[in-house]
């Protein structure tokens, strides 16, 4: 066997890991070859030196440190497990989170759009009870009546606010004897207070004081359609109503218009309700004086 081959086998030879036959060939070569023998001795010394390296003892508090590592690791693992579920759980969780986020974005966007729409509308009365605009809404009647668009905050309350102008039908009261007396006494009183004021003028003023049972008529109409009278505002110093506010169910709105149309005539366009609206309607009726 050649020296190069023998040297390749020396490591196994030292470990007695060679086949018996090959081991004996190597041994035979080593007895004859000084260089290979020297190489063998050198390698043997190295292996012995490695085997005699001193043992390094473990620190005395090693077990305690291992305990601390275990404690720290278990806390970290709990957090990691919580955050990083196995894929079969993580994916559905992530998808659910994504879907929830999408729904939230939609709701927020939708709310912002609603608020923006409400702000853009012109206000009606000083109390901003209604915003009215004309439009080509297909839900309107053929006469292209304006559609009421409720303001945001009012809609939130579930009530639509409308404004109507009504000129009540005036009936001149025939002067009964009582009336004549009351008018005459009133006139005398007034003439004393206001010199030069003619009886006719006084009479006219008295006729203007309240449209013939308007408030009571409206009250009857409203109570008949499950509504209620909310407020009345009078001209200062008179019994003449300027504004009457009522509230009725939206489903009875048409009935209200019909019945009220018999006791007065509506001025300007009558607002219509949004299609399918089933809430309540609050109507401020402006009483128009014919004088």
């Amino acid at each position: 066997m050649e020296c190069a081959r023998v040297r390749q086998l020396l490591s196994e030879y030292i470990d007695t890991a060679l086949d018996t036959k090959i081991a004996s060939i190597v041994e035979e070569h080593l007895e004859k070859c000084k260089d290979c023998s020297k190489e063998h001795a050198s390698l043997n010394t190295l292996v012995n030196a490695l085997g005699q390296l001193e043992t390094v003892e473990t620190p005395s508090d090693f077990l305690e440190k291992v305990h601390k590592r275990i404690e720290a690791d278990s806390w970290l693992e709990r957090v990691k497990h919580f955050l990083f579920f196995p894929a079969r759980v993580k994916i559905p969780v992530e998808l659910t989170a994504l879907a929830t986020a999408a729904v939230l974005v939609f709701i927020i966007f939708h709310t912002i759009q609603d608020n923006k729409l409400g702000k853009d509308l012109p206000s009606g009365t000083s109390e901003t009870m209604v915003a009215v605009r004309s439009g080509n809404d297909s839900r309107e009647t053929a006469t292209n009546r304006p559609v009421v668009v409720e303001t945001g905050s009012e809609r939130d309350q579930g009530v639509i606010h409308l404004a109507l102008s009504l000129e009540p039908i005036h009936k001149e009261k025939p002067l009964s004897s009582e009336n004549i007396i009351s008018v005459a006494s009133g006139a005398r009183q007034k003439s004393r207070e206001t010199p030069g004021l003619s009886l006719e003028t006084i009479r006219q003023e008295q006729n203007v004081s309240e449209p013939e049972g308007l408030v009571s008529n409206l009250k009857d109409i409203v109570s008949g359609i499950e509504g209620r009278l909310l407020s009345k505002e009078y001209k200062i110093g008179t019994d003449y109503p300027l504004y009457i506010t009522i509230e009725i169910p939206a489903i009875n709105y048409q009935v209200f218009l019909e019945k009220t149309g018999r006791i007065g005539s509506f001025q300007a366009s009558i607002p219509s309700l949004p299609y399918g609206y089933k809430g309540r309607v609050r109507i401020q009726i402006q009483v128009i004086s014919s004088n």
Binding site: S11, G51, Q52, L53, T55, T58, P59, D73
Partner: protein
């Protein structure tokens, strides 16, 4: 050559009993396993890196992994072989991660006072009468050998430590590393030749 063959079969049975005990819920059994194997694991880690602190850290890592995996240990190998496997793999992984930071690890025995004191205290003199000069020579010799080991590639380092320092058989090495016998033999041969070259006239 350091060996642990004398009581290996008894140790194996004791280890098995402790593992089963732990799997039944007795955490104290794990502590006993740590005490039984800590020196073995620690010295392997020390020889792998030549650094006391690093060895301590890695050895703790090893036992942490053992603790986390022990419940699912199936006794397909002995606990002894298994813990060595965990230790070798942990060392290899650590070596690979620090390879670019430190290509040639020098044993800083002299530059690290704590390390020096710790190592000196842990050195077994074997009962022989040593002169200070002997100690110094021994220390220098150890340092140079460790330096030579550090210069080896990771896989060669592993087989040198397992075979020549820890005294494991080829079969045990094959169980631990998962390598074929032929691979281990050739690897060991190359490692020894590499060390011999490094150490030159020292040996």
């Amino acid at each position: 050559m350091n060996t642990h063959k004398s009581n290996k079969s008894n140790s194996s049975e004791e280890d098995t009993a402790l593992v089963r005990d732990f799997q039944s819920g007795n955490r104290a059994a794990f502590d006993k396993l740590v005490l039984r194997h800590k020196d073995r694991v620690f010295s392997l880690c020390y020889r792998f890196f030549g650094d006391y602190q690093e060895a301590e850290d890695i050895a703790q890592d090893v036992f942490l992994k053992v603790y986390n995996s022990l419940r699912s240990f199936r006794f397909k190998s002995s606990f002894y072989t298994w813990i060595y496997r965990v230790a070798v793999n942990t060392c290899k992984n650590r070596a690979k991660s620090s390879e670019y930071r430190n290509m040639k690890m020098n044993v800083q025995l002299n530059n690290n006072p704590r390390n020096q004191d710790e190592v000196n205290q842990s050195i077994q003199t074997g009962g022989k009468q040593q002169t200070p000069l002997d100690d110094l020579e021994k220390e220098e010799r150890t340092r140079l050998i460790q330096k030579a080991i550090d210069s080896l590639p990771t896989e060669q380092k592993a087989v040198i430590i397992l075979r020549d320092i820890k005294g494991l058989s080829y079969k045990e090495m094959a169980d631990i590393t998962g390598n074929q016998l032929g691979t281990l033999k050739s690897r060991l041969s190359r490692a020894r030749l590499g060390l011999k070259k490094q150490l030159g006239g020292l040996i």
